[in-house]
């Protein structure tokens, strides 16, 4: 059948339709259709640290999780609130430095510094981004791209917090087990938490702000307040990731404000599927290990993931997850016109 006389149509699979309603409880098949993907995700994440052969790859898994948290925060901010922040490094750096300072200057243990860094760092980021919240589109993107560079230059110029050397001698997590499962648990917690959160009333307001902020304003809702809240949530997540990073490497420095932390999460989100929240995890699981494998080639890995990014933006801008979901839920067939 030539494509001129036919078109492809997509129809929901029967099992999908059945499991949408109460029928889901009728048979094991429908139940597993619903729960299996989620179960695989959770069990897979829990098993990952155990399955990794050595210390090096376990460390890679921790890094994957840290990037994932950052990518989820990007995805949430960009596709559920409509604020595209290119400043993942700003969150990581602020969180990292907060944790480092709390640990070295005040002697707090990692168990306290991580949550404290999330809250304090989140507040700092929100306060600094507060004047830029009315900006839209390119303008917000550019200003968030500039913030990490600014922070790095400020620390360098004033020579504060260890200057160019950074803070060294920060406590590690008590064991590799704690480190692994803390980050894995955080990923799962943020993933399900944000997924739930965007469907609540407040999440609806966020989505409405993204779609038409004037209309939300006209309904008497203070959009500045909600935008600030969204930025706080996203930056607290980023800062928490940064704090974990600091404790894992027992070091914090200017390179935490590097562009790597801004670009890789975005690349992961685009590849995995933007707006799906699970996509960023998928993207990070692909990108980070590949870039670790390419470590010997130096900067070639940046070339590599930038090329993947361009390719995906051009040819598959919806990402792997959306594609996979479509295949899982629908089937396609040719119909005559």
């Amino acid at each position: 059948m030539s494509s001129q006389h036919a078109r492809k149509e997509r129809i929901d699979r029967g099992i999908k339709v059945r499991s949408d309603g109460l029928y889901a409880l009728m048979s094991l098949r429908e139940l597993s259709y619903l729960t299996l993907p989620r179960f695989i995700l959770i069990a897979g994440m829990m098993l990952l640290p155990v399955l990794m052969p050595d210390m090096y790859w376990q460390r890679v898994i921790s890094i994957v999780c840290i990037y994932t948290i950052l990518a989820i925060s990007f995805d949430f901010l960009a596709h559920y609130v409509g604020l595209v922040s290119l400043g993942g490094a700003f969150f990581i750096g602020t969180g990292g430095y907060t944790a480092g300072i709390l640990n070295t200057y005040f002697g707090l243990p990692p168990i306290l510094t991580v949550p404290l860094a999330a809250i304090i760092g989140g507040l700092i980021c929100t306060l600094m981004l507060l004047p830029c919240l009315p900006l839209k589109g390119v303008y917000f993107a550019i200003i968030t791209l500039m913030y990490p560079l600014f922070m790095a230059r400020i620390i360098e110029a004033f020579d504060i917090f260890g200057g160019t050397d950074g803070l060294i001698g920060i406590d590690n997590f008590s064991s590799a087990f704690v480190e692994q499962y803390l980050v894995v648990a955080m990923v799962l917690m943020f993933l399900s938490g944000i997924r739930r959160f965007v469907t609540t009333d407040m999440g609806l307001i966020f989505t409405a702000i993204m779609d038409n902020d004037q209309a939300v304003k006209a309904s008497g809702i203070n959009i500045a307040k909600y935008k600030a809240l969204a930025v706080f949530i996203a930056s607290a997540m980023g800062c928490m990731a940064g704090a974990c990073l600091t404790h894992i490497y027992m070091w914090t420095g200017i390179s935490q404000f590097a562009l790597d932390f801004s670009i890789l999460p975005i690349a992961a989100t685009v590849i995995g599927g933007s707006g799906t929240l699970i996509g960023p995890l998928l993207g990070c699981l692909i990108l980070v290990p590949v870039s670790e494998l390419l470590r010997d080639f130096g900067t070639l890995r940046i070339v590599f993931y930038a090329s993947i990014l361009v390719g995906f933006i051009l040819f598959r801008s919806d990402g792997i997850m959306v594609f996979g979901q479509r295949k899982y839920e629908q089937f396609e067939r040719w119909t005559k016109i």
């Binding site: 960009a78 830029c132 600014f150 230059r153 900067t299 361009v310």
Partner: protein
């Protein structure tokens, strides 16, 4: 006097960096984040043609400008055209292309101190008791001539007027038979050539290093944001503001703060007046 002379020179070099970015954004509304990469690649192409192939310096420069222009057009034709109008994809895609070029060059072994271009003229001159070498003077003069030339080009030639028409109202331009994609491609080519001109004028003053790509990108964004995105005359004046501010901080505070000034200028402008000092865009378009 020293501040005045070096402030002017610094300002003109900033203006040179920013003009290409301003032009591309002004006409096609594509924030070309690969601008810095185009700047660097032009330097390396000139170096290769001149030092490796032994072409005369002038011909090498002209050829590399041509290469740059074609590169910019190809970039638009094959990549950016597909994401045009989607702000964020434009930024990410062009930035990723910039990363590919810059990090690819770094991987290709273009690093270290060995890459330099000769200055146009040796020797120096005293202006009001301050020694200034000829190359900086030539750079300043060419820079000012270039701005004047650009003004004439956009106001008195067919293509220039078409570009201007597109910058003002793309739909109306389309209705009058201006091929907007072709014009945007042309604008991208011009932008790349301008980046190349900046590179060939500024690079002989130092080494060709990959890192300068990022630096140039930030500076050109700073100039364009302060002047108002899309207004390249604004960019030219903003270059003078930032240029003098930078020299003043270097003289009175310290050279560490040179970059801080530029980034602070971006942040403050975006917060206080996002349309920039000379921007023509309506306020509503960019803030709520």
């Amino acid at each position: 006097m020293e501040i005045l002379v070096y402030g002017t020179i610094n300002s003109v070099s900033l203006a040179l960096m920013g003009l290409g970015f301003a032009m591309v954004y002004g006409i096609s509304r594509v924030p070309n984040f690969a601008h810095g990469a185009l700047y660097v690649i032009c330097g390396f192409v000139t170096w290769t043609l001149f030092q490796k192939l032994g072409l005369p310096y002038f011909i090498a420069i002209i050829l590399s400008l041509g290469v740059n222009g074609v590169l910019g057009m190809l970039m638009y034709r094959f990549v950016l055209i597909r994401v045009r109008g989607m702000n964020i994809s434009e930024i990410i895609a062009s930035y990723a292309i910039g990363l590919i070029i810059l990090e690819g060059l770094r991987f290709g072994g273009f690093r270290g101190m060995t890459y330099t271009l000769p200055v146009f003229m040796e020797g120096s001159l005293m202006i009001g008791g301050v020694p200034v070498d000829y190359h900086r003077i030539v750079m300043t003069i060419i820079g000012i001539l270039l701005v004047a030339g650009l003004w004439l080009f956009t106001h008195h030639t067919r293509i220039g007027l078409a570009l201007q028409g597109m910058a003002q109202d793309e739909r109306a331009a389309l209705m009058l038979g201006i091929d907007s994609d072709f014009m945007a491609m042309l604008a991208m080519g011009f932008g790349a050539v301008l980046a190349g001109v900046a590179a060939t004028l500024i690079m002989p003053l130092g080494n060709i290093v990959v890192e300068s790509g990022y630096h140039v990108l930030i500076m050109s964004i700073a100039v364009c944001i302060v002047g108002g995105l899309g207004s390249w005359m604004g960019a030219f004046f903003a270059a003078f503001i930032i240029g003098f501010a930078q020299i003043l901080t270097v003289v009175y505070i310290g050279s560490h703060f040179q970059m801080v000034v530029a980034i602070l200028a971006i942040i403050l402008t975006l917060i206080l007046k996002p349309s920039g000092l000379f921007g023509q865009q309506k306020e509503l378009e960019e803030r709520v």
